[in-house]
Symmetry: C2
Subunit: 436 residues, 2 copies
């Protein structure tokens, strides 16, 4: 008996869409084996038929008319691979309303309109699968929503933006300054012409919002996640971090405290030799702690055509075989139920800090600085007053680098404000979190 | 409307069984949320009712009579958590035949009787889920069978035996010799009173056989996997490895060559700073390369009550919601279909080697050794003739440590046999693989 092929569609044939088409077309036998039935790419919707494509498509598959998918009852699953918010949102609603299950890689769309889209899908009895929306080829969505289902997740720490990690790795390994490293990332295709959303922490915050929904049932709006990007990073601090036995990583953190959830994205000192510190280049990694399983660490390519397409095709297979529908139904995601946990007041978050000040080299300065820290209940773990190759220090000034014991974000910020106002302290002080 | 609870049973209340019972009983609300319905532990079968237990069970749940599960039509899923081959095999068949879906953590049983058990389950329309059988809390089974389904897996490299990794870490970090490290592992509960199966590579080979079925469709019998354990490991070689920039790990490797599959378990030199080299203590890790996704790395606790129970409960949830049935159906596991790939002839496997010889310190010895290597088509990448703190060297003898370029296993073995027969070479030469 011939098994009937499952027909799927793609909307958007950019980098990821082309990768998905390539896998479905060139690796059909593999996909058939893993899905238990053939999966046939039957329609691809694009904006411009004439644009040169990265993949060869069979005749007549390509169309500019979405109704060729929405009106085709044989297509039951669609990979919606347009970026941005509109028309991605409208197309997604249109697909759901025409009875299609949807697979997407669009994290901005989910972070912004997740509640609307998930509610609509639930009303319509459809599913949305979104493995590719976070961390590319690292299957963190399936792992959180399925493999770790016996756990209360206690914390998530992720390197979720490959562009930023590539840039910081370049600065660290080649002594490049920030703008040189950005140029190199652009040259190699790791950064967009306008890399703002990657380097200012927006992209990582959007991904963290998705993971926080999944892992903690937290109803988080991504703009509410305090975030600092790598765009202000000074290579001097990478050298200091290295001296102290650390690497700087743009870290997205979610940590469950008693009854609230700590969330932030910021450049953070991570101890050398720990798995997160060894994540180089455009890789992503996530360290998850569950109350039963302990720490599980995932590492892989966070972006790129084929790693991301790998995640989309896995979702297409999961959807055609029926697993996505079950997962979507059992996960109460972006529901209108009350959020299970509220976000921590940012100023009360506690942790260790790295601080660097440029100060005049005369007696009394250290007493002033340490006095400010003491008044703000910050105790000093170690202090170095010494010049390493420091672009910011001129004349008789010296660098003062301080590692603190645990302090609250509010106190740390207040202390640095106070120290910055001291007459013997120059502008441009630096404060970064240190991972415990 | 009250949702009816899904009733499950447990057979075997040892360490893992107690952990599973604990999660189901104490974290019922969490399990209900993740499964979309309550899961009720309704019967636990043990051999001895009087034995003290690690967990509190409700009255009348405990029984010695398996028919209280097999005859109860309301119990649809059973966690079969007895170790060893019999009666585990018979009980598993009995459970399947009475219409139960089964979840198991018993890797030896699957490695030995997988084909029989999986065929029987298929005939009966039942499923077997086995996440906990490999790497404890690291969800490698779900990741291979589901998350990476768009990929042809190209290679797997795993640290799959936590006991061995703990022992080698102890030897390396504390300079302990093998027997001291085993004693410490036993004291801390990381090694059994008789640790043979862990330290001689059997356990890792059984797990590798399961992963090879899953990732490559290979019909592998675990006794056919060439394996060397850590039981012959000399701390001298850990020191040499460290000098050369490596750590020694008991590595299980599966690598797809043109049309055959390379499989082996052996202590292997892994470059410092790479993720696998940083796996310490009783942790497990697996590095998987897929043709689309690239390299994905997983790291976590490979054993222990709660990490393993976490995997079993995830499987129980997957089975009650229906995901396991789909996965079991679509994965053509341990089927009687022809194996998709044959195991490579071991002697033709190629790789780099670390070799250590103890030789008389006189002219001509080096020429003899390098002559033997050359005759066997092995070229030398680096050579050190120097004493480090080496317990094996006495009198005027010296250590000769050689790192080779890629050579076949057959040639490397032949060369060492030849060198061992030289009059100026002492007994006890060492040869280990080096990870590329």
């Amino acid at each position: 008996m011939a098994i009937k092929a499952h027909k799927v569609g793609i909307v958007g044939l950019g980098t990821v869409g082309s990768g998905v088409a390539k896998i479905l077309l060139e690796e059909g036998e593999r996909v058939r084996r893993h899905a238990g039935q053939p999966i046939e790419l039957s329609r691809v919707v694009v904006r411009d038929l004439e644009k040169p494509r990265q993949c060869e498509l069979p005749d007549k598959i390509l169309t500019t008319d979405i109704s060729e998918i929405t009106n085709d009852p044989e297509i039951s699953v669609v990979a919606q691979l347009i970026g941005g918010l509109e028309p991605a949102r409208s197309i997604m609603l249109q697909l759901l309303e025409s009875g299609k299950d949807v697979v997407t890689a669009n994290k901005a769309l989910l972070a912004e309109h997740g509640t609307e889209l998930f509610n609509r899908a639930r009303e319509l009895g459809r599913s949305i699968a979104f493995e590719a929306s976070v961390a590319g080829g690292v299957p963190i969505i399936a792992n959180l929503s399925q493999c770790l289902s016996a756990n209360q997740i206690l914390s998530l720490r992720g390197i979720l933006n490959g562009t930023s990690n590539f840039i910081v790795s370049q600065m660290e390994e080649h002594g490049a300054d920030y703008s040189q490293a950005v140029a190199e990332a652009q040259r190699l295709g790791y950064a967009e012409a306008d890399p703002t959303m990657d380097v200012d922490g927006t992209d990582a915050a959007q991904k963290l919002a998705i993971l926080a929904h999944l892992a903690f049932g937290a109803d988080v709006q991504w703009p509410d996640i305090p975030r600092i990007g790598i765009d202000g990073l000074d290579s001097t601090d990478l050298r200091w971090a290295s001296e102290l036995g650390y690497r700087v990583k743009l870290l997205a953190v979610a940590r469950l405290n008693e009854d609230n959830l700590e969330l932030h994205v910021s450049p953070t000192l991570v101890k050398l030799g720990t798995p997160l510190s060894e994540v180089r280049g455009a890789n992503n990694a996530i360290s998850v702690v569950g109350d039963m399983v302990g720490r599980v660490f995932y590492h892989g390519l966070g972006a790129g055509q084929l790693p991301t397409a790998s995640a989309v095709v896995a979702d297409l297979i999961d959807t055609t075989v029926g697993r996505s529908a079950i997962t979507f139904r059992t996960l109460d995601l972006w529901s209108e139920a009350t959020s299970k946990v509220l976000q921590t007041n940012h100023s009360s978050i506690s942790g260790r800090y790295y601080m660097r000040f440029t100060v005049e080299d005369h007696p009394g300065v250290l007493a002033d600085v340490s006095g400010s820290l003491g008044r703000n209940e910050i105790s000093i773990a170690s202090i170095i007053q010494r010049e390493i190759d420091d672009d910011n220090v001129q004349g008789d000034d010296v660098s003062l680098v301080i590692m603190t014991h645990a302090a609250t974000e509010g106190n740390a910020a207040a202390a640095v404000r106070e120290i910055d106002a001291l007459p013997s302290v120059r502008a441009g002080s630096v404060r970064m979190r240190v991972l415990d």
